[in-house]
């Protein structure tokens, strides 16, 4: 049996060797081009140079991207803090509803509803809670009752007003002339706030506050 197996293995090996010897005669359809090595080395040198240039380009592009990112972040934060984006904002006059002077609008006025960013949380509503029974876990471990209870609220303030584009006369003392500069008049009309409990995440309705005239610069 072993002899048969060995014979089969030898035959198989001879078959593969014959295939390999036949394949050794392979001749490519195209012969090797002249100057193959020189071209390869030239390409290698060019790629090496390009890698150097690519590094410099990467540094420049990275720097430009950082500058753009910084500008975008600055614009974003600036927008969050300022409601009125016009350069000149005139202090609103103390308006009585009947006696408010009518400035001549050069463009139709528009209602502006601005929302301030969320305030930091109010002062916690701390109350003495010594009279309340201690929780079961505290009693089990012999701990004392909590001293206080508190509630965390988030107050969002909403204000509505009118922005009126106008001209502002600025006297020039040196030339004794008056310059007209564009400005925006901000007249707040209504303000309200809603309270959100941190635990429930539900907001109350907007509660109207008193009319407050405030100019945001």
């Amino acid at each position: 049996m072993k002899r048969i197996t060995r014979r089969a293995e030898a035959e198989e090996r001879e078959r593969i060797e014959a295939l390999l010897r036949a394949a050794a005669d392979y001749a490519p359809a195209r012969s090797a081009p002249d100057g193959l090595a020189a071209r390869a080395l030239a390409r290698h040198s060019a790629v090496r140079c390009a890698h150097g240039r690519r590094g410099r380009h990467a540094v420049l592009v990275g720097g430009a991207a950082l500058v753009l990112l910084a500008l975008a972040l600055r614009a974003h934060w600036g927008r969050r803090e300022t409601v009125v984006t016009h350069p000149n904002v005139v202090q609103a006059p103390h308006i009585e509803h009947q006696s408010a002077p009518e400035p001549i609008p050069s463009q139709p006025s528009k209602m502006v509803v601005s929302e301030r960013p969320e305030r930091p949380q109010r002062k916690p509503d701390v109350r003495i809670a010594a009279h309340l029974p201690a929780p079961a876990s505290h009693r089990r471990h012999g701990l004392r009752a909590p001293k206080a209870l508190w509630r965390v609220e988030t107050v969002r303030e909403v204000r509505a007003g009118v922005l009126i584009p106008t001209w502002m006369a600025v006297p020039d003392a040196e030339q004794e002339t008056v310059h007209l500069r564009p400005a925006v008049l901000n007249i707040p009309l209504q303000a309200g706030e809603s309270i959100c409990l941190a635990a429930s995440r539900e907001r109350t309705d907007v509660k109207t506050l008193e009319n407050r005239e405030e100019t945001v610069k």
Binding site: I16, A22, A23, Y26, A27, P28, P33, A37, A38, L41
Partner: protein, 201 residues
């Protein structure tokens, strides 16, 4: 550069940074290199692979240990490049049209027979190139490039017996991958004793 200049001298000069010396070394082994990559790739990929093999050899020239012939060392690099090409996603997704028959094939009486034989040869070479590195290098260099087992063992930094056992393991593996081919279909021509000498195990 002179054709008769010793190979070791050229390698030393190439190591010193002389690109012309390295180009002369590659030109001497260019036919082997080209045959290695051309039996695996098609079309313009052959040129790219040959150039990549040369660049790889140039970058790794400091690892050449002067123990085996430079041609064997360069051929091993080209074989590895061909193996990587066979496994690459580009090779798997893009199929070139096969090369047009050359003038030599067209002039024969049975061009279809010659074309079939060429395809068979390519098939066998590609099967060898797909073997693991420890088996494909001895088989390729021994059967196709006619290096002796002693030279292969020096190239691989192993004993000659190790190279022989790797070669036999590769043959066993090839018998499975080339099971559908029959030696008779190739009509393997009888080789002269001097040609067969290099292939004796």
């Amino acid at each position: 550069l002179s054709e008769l200049e010793p190979e070791i001298e050229l390698v030393h000069r190439a190591l010193a940074g002389e690109e012309a010396a390295f180009a002369a070394l590659c030109t001497r082994s260019q036919a082997r290199l080209w045959r290695t990559v051309a039996s695996v790739a098609y079309g313009p990929d052959v040129d790219d692979l040959a150039q990549e093999a040369i660049v790889r050899a140039y970058c790794a020239l400091r690892t050449y240990r002067f123990e085996a012939p430079f041609a064997a060392w360069l051929c091993r690099i080209a074989l590895n490049v061909a193996h990587d090409y066979q496994r690459s996603g580009w090779r798997r997704r893009v199929r070139f049209w096969q090369e047009t028959p050359d003038a030599q094939v067209e002039q024969t009486e049975h061009p279809e027979h010659l074309l079939a034989q060429r395809e068979m040869q390519r098939r066998v070479r590609q099967a060898v190139a797909a073997l693991p590195v420890r088996q494909r290098v001895p088989i390729w260099l021994h059967y196709f490039e006619e290096f002796t087992l002693a030279e292969i063992a020096r190239l691989e930094c192993t004993a000659e017996s190790t190279a022989r056992s790797r070669l036999q393991a590769g043959l066993r593996r090839l018998s499975f991958s080339l099971e559908d081919l029959r030696a008779g279909s190739l009509e393997a021509r009888e080789r002269t004793p001097s040609e067969v000498k290099g292939c004796q195990i």
